[in-house]
Subunit: 329 residues, 2 copies
């Protein structure tokens, strides 16, 4: 019997990613709102990746992955599947490197995400996120020699997203804050596993929590069962960015050791968190990007007297949808 061990990235990989993306990705600031601090009775530091190039954290991992490709691989082009934010990150990084990119996106992806990918010169093909197998959708392109840039289950992608953790730790220290916990949205787990890798290496006692939409809480249930379990089919959610079928193999290998837990948040709490982000932080955050704040706002993670960093992972929401959710007070 052989034990299958996935290739888990290390803190050195995250440091290497930070060196690669420097000057290309934005070092997003840490923001806070005295009003929100008062409400939760603790200190909440926000990491607004909505201000990142392409409007989400995904550029970090995509740039790190693509920068590691050989000249031969770059010449053959790349292919990716994505709910939309990874698509934009890959398209932006591919454009910077002058690489041809084919990107498969769900047919129901927000128009803003599709439009931005088109504008960056990538070729878009579509699939049904609730029916089609993603790897099958891109198979012919991979067979033709293109490198598949996975959305989360890849050491270079995870290491790239982990640069957020390095920044978080350094920026909180600059503020004189002791980070008790970090809360991040979680889909396939690339973002939170990268952050956990970095944060746990630097601050071992800091908790890392995942936030997921209700009915798409595969990481929460997988942590409880100690093995990867998939989401039930048939559900819908406004959190289009983080509706993955199940945790990644590599990401879960990291998360099952590093996370303190995961919480599921309702659509109502998600919309309320979008309104709080607009009112108190002046940030446009998409549903899937705001679930960390929703988790904090719903009282599921204890904040009293503690300092917690919340990652706002993306802001690519159609204005018509956004306006509707802001109005539902």
């Amino acid at each position: 019997m052989t034990i299958h061990a996935p290739a888990v990235p290390t803190i050195e990989d995250v440091h290497a990613a930070a060196a690669r993306i420097k000057g290309h990705a934005i070092e997003t600031p840490l923001l806070e709102s005295p009003a929100l601090n008062d409400r939760v009775g603790g200190r909440v530091l926000f990491k607004p990746e909505v201000l990142q190039r392409t409007g989400s954290f995904k550029f970090r991992g995509a740039y790190n992955k693509i920068s590691s490709l050989s000249p031969e691989e770059r010449a053959r082009g790349i292919v990716a599947y994505s709910s939309g934010n990874h698509a934009q990150g890959v398209a932006a990084a591919a454009k910077l490197f002058g690489i041809d990119a084919v990107i498969a996106m769900p047919i129901d992806a927000p128009a803003i995400k599709r439009r931005n990918v088109d504008a960056m010169g990538a070729t878009v093909i579509t699939f049904d996120r609730f029916k089609d197998d993603r790897d099958a959708v891109v198979k012919s392109y991979v067979d033709a020699g293109r490198v598949l840039v996975k959305p989360f289950d890849d050491p270079m992608i995870i290491a790239g997203q982990g640069t957020i953790g390095l920044e978080l730790v350094a920026q909180a220290a600059d503020l004189g804050a002791k980070l008790d916990a970090v809360v991040s949205p979680c889909g396939g787990g690339g973002l939170i596993s990268g952050i956990a890798l970095a944060v746990k290496a630097l601050l071992p006692s800091t908790e890392v929590w995942a936030a997921e939409p209700e009915n798409f809480d595969d990481t929460r249930r997988s942590l409880a069962e100690g093995r990867r379990v998939a989401n039930a089919s048939g559900f819908r959610s406004i959190c289009d960015a983080i509706l993955t079928p199940e945790p990644g193999e590599i990401t879960f290998e990291i998360n099952r050791r590093a996370l303190s837990g995961a919480v599921a948040v309702s659509e109502k709490d998600t919309a309320a968190a979008m309104r709080d982000a607009a009112s108190h932080l002046k940030l446009v955050v998409e549903p899937g990007g705001v679930v960390g704040l929703a988790a904090v706002g719903s009282g599921q993670i204890d904040l009293s007297g503690r300092c917690v960093a919340v990652v706002l992972s993306g802001g690519n929401v159609d204005l018509s949808v956004y306006a509707r959710l802001l109005s539902e007070a």
Copy 2:
């Protein structure tokens, strides 16, 4: 005949303000959008003061002014009149210094502004912005010994707002950008005169442009006539933050020498700029805060091949109004 010369602040006053507000005000980042750059054919660097403490630049000047008061003056308390952003800046600074504050706000000020001032413990009185004389409204409080913290026509207020200019110049240099012009919203002129003071001292050939709402373009007409002229009465505007009756005496003394010009923007262009800020920058910007981007977007300021900094001065807009303006595509 004596020539009346207003007490104009100097670049040294701006440097002193920067030292005072350090660690209290946020050094807001410079942001840019490749998509917006492509559209205008130049490079636009945004200074998002919506991310400043209290959601607008006003905290800078208010903190600088209040920090300069003597212990005796602080003990007597302060009074201010404001359309809402200065009110929040003053209330926040007063709270930090433990000073009693009375603030007169227009009866039609956005609810978010009134709510935030209340939450910071200031006493609010109201007035009619289209009828009442602002100085008369606060006269009894001044007579009782309170220091009046003016919204713009005060050297310490202007110097505080000017710290944005210092940051802009340093941050643009960090990006390797040569600043051809700076565009800023303009009401009474405290923000833009402070910025002009700083920018012109450091980069004499950089242009500084004011953006105003149509029918409230008193600075544009004053520059054309070479003397301060008031706005006609009877008009309304969504840009509540910058509807002042006429330019300040001190601010105009600076602006008439330092500005390259001023442009008036329509409500339609203002709403479009709010949508652009949400889509491309992920920032919630209030109508009066976004007129600089509206001026750039309307083509009234030439950007082709140039690098222009645009100040987004505030983001305190009621969500119901914001949602309506986002939907008017």
